[in-house]
């Protein structure tokens, strides 16, 4: 059955039907080809204005979105918290309404508060794409992960996917989990018990606190960046100890299937969550994730911009 995209916003993968997720991935396949041509630009968003509103700092996601917008021929404005009137005490909604009043078609938004984008999307007519909200969601990262897995493995349903690291604070993990579950993968999460809550079992995720258990039988292992401030907050005793128990290295990699994919959303702490040689090795798809991120973001921008009410 053919699915039509009808959403002006992309806020969370939790909201989407599996068919809608597949539609985004299929659309991204064709946008990926655009970036492989000599002339890497299409006129799909010509005349549309996109505001990249990053209240929380971001480099790679912002650059990826910006390039995706340029390849679609959109006009772009970049705003950060420090360059906006949020600094002067303006409310988030007022800032967003001002962007809307400038006839912006789309707002790509990152915010440190979970749900900020949902709140804004409800209150303005411009389309809103979530580029990360607190520990809640990062849907385009999950979509690029799904795209990369499907590209390498040919399918998602039935695959064993393990996500290792700080699940508690990770919006990438939450979006990945929803996307993977909706497309029929078996998801395992692993890490120190302080960072991997058992609550996730309620949505059908296997929880383990041992890296070896997460590695055995995995088709995909996705290692999350461990943030040093979590150590300072007492979630684990030391970075070295984290690396010893939950870092993927040459020694424990023997428990991994030889054809298992190694993923990481970046930026990597080399030799902490992931051994440097493995990050650059044949099982790693980390740079392909970055390439695919561009295609997936082009697809999302295209689909969402096609559903704006004029």
């Amino acid at each position: 059955m053919e699915v039509n995209w009808t959403r002006k916003d992309l806020l969370s993968l939790y909201d989407l039907d599996p068919e809608e997720i597949v539609l985004i991935l299929d659309t991204a396949e064709e946008f990926k080809k655009v970036s492989e041509r000599n002339l890497k630009k299409v006129p799909a968003l010509r005349g549309k204005t996109v505001v990249n509103f990053f209240v929380e700092p971001s480099t790679r996601t912002r650059v990826s979105f910006e390039l995706a917008e340029q390849r679609l021929s959109a006009d772009i404005i970049n705003m950060t918290a420090s360059s906006s009137s949020l600094q002067k005490g303006e409310t988030l909604l007022d800032t967003a309404r001002n962007i809307e009043a400038l006839q912006a078609d789309l707002i790509v938004m990152r915010h440190s508060c979970a749900g900020a984008q949902n709140f804004i999307a409800k209150n303005i007519s411009s389309g809103v794409i979530n580029a990360g909200d607190g520990a809640h969601g990062h849907p385009t990262q999950a979509l690029l992960d799904l795209f990369t897995i499907r590209q390498k493995k040919g399918r998602i349903a039935g695959l064993n996917v393990s996500i290792v690291g700080d699940i508690l604070h990770s919006r990438v993990a939450r979006s990945d989990i929803w996307g993977l579950i909706k497309l029929g993968a078996n998801v395992t999460i692993a890490g120190p018990s302080t960072l991997v809550p058992r609550d996730f079992e309620q949505i059908g995720v296997r929880v383990c606190h041992n890296l070896k258990d997460a590695m055995e039988g995995a088709d995909v292992i996705n290692l999350l960046r461990i943030q040093h401030e979590r150590q300072r907050a007492g979630f684990f005793p030391s970075t070295n100890e984290y690396a010893r128990f939950f870092g993927l290295n040459k020694e424990n990699a023997k428990y991994l299937n030889p054809d298992a994919m190694i993923m990481h959303p970046g930026p990597i702490n080399r030799d902490v969550e992931l051994d440097s040689a493995l990050a650059d090795g044949p099982q790693s798809v980390i740079l392909e994730q970055v390439t695919n991120g561009l295609a997936v973001r082009m697809a999302v921008l295209f689909l969402v911009s096609g559903c704006l009410k004029k």
Binding site: E2, N4, W5, L23, D26, T27, E29, E30, F31, K33, V34, R37, L39, K41, V42, P43, A44, L45, L72, F302, L303, S305, G306, C307, L308, K310
Partner: protein, 187 residues
């Protein structure tokens, strides 16, 4: 209830495609060498191009190259249509520069798809010439675009549009007149 009235059976449709193949052969056999490639516009320009290649190869021994093109990213009505078009596969396996190409589509109506296709083609290269072949020319043009080869000309009744079905995409061959309100099929 939406109506679907058959205008042509599979044999008459095949005759029309045969006529297009003959016209293409007639034009290109007058040139120094018989060399051209087909670009089928998604979705039903694709089986049409394949049929033409099969017929031309059988008649002349020359097998034209085949490509397929989706024009959705190049349309001028994104966001204005009731539904967003589904982007289908584009695959152009040959160098378009200095190549004579024949664009194929099922129905030529407003000409907007063809305009988008011409725009898309220029992103891939600079063909030496571009021709347009369609199964049905139904009039109703909104752009100064015409078909070089048309299997037949049918002007449908007001409020109706033309649907060309292929075995490959729809299960069987046939040309139909359907209600304009049917959002998913035709033109």
């Amino acid at each position: 209830m939406s109506s679907k009235r058959r205008l042509c059976n599979s044999r008459k449709m095949d005759d029309a495609i045969e006529g297009v193949a003959d016209a293409i052969i007639a034009e290109f056999s007058r040139k120094k060498e018989m060399d051209f490639a087909f670009i089928g516009i998604q979705q039903r320009g694709v089986p049409f191009a394949r049929r033409l290649i099969e017929k031309i190869t059988r008649k002349t021994g020359f097998k034209p190259q085949f490509a397929m093109l989706d024009t959705s990213m190049y349309r001028d009505d994104i966001g204005m249509r009731a539904t967003l078009p589904v982007i289908r596969e584009t695959d152009i396996p040959f160098d378009m520069n200095d190549q004579a190409v024949i664009l194929t589509d099922d129905v030529l109506s407003s000409g907007r798809t063809i305009r988008a296709a011409l725009d898309a083609i220029t992103c891939y290269g600079r063909p030496s010439l571009i021709r347009l072949a369609v199964v049905v020319d139904r009039g109703n043009r909104e752009f100064p675009i015409r078909a070089d080869y048309a299997g037949m000309k049918i002007i449908p009744e007001e409020g109706k549009k033309i649907l060309v079905e292929f075995k490959e995409t729809d299960g069987s061959d046939g040309i139909y007149e359907i209600d304009w309100s049917n959002p998913t099929k035709g033109e």
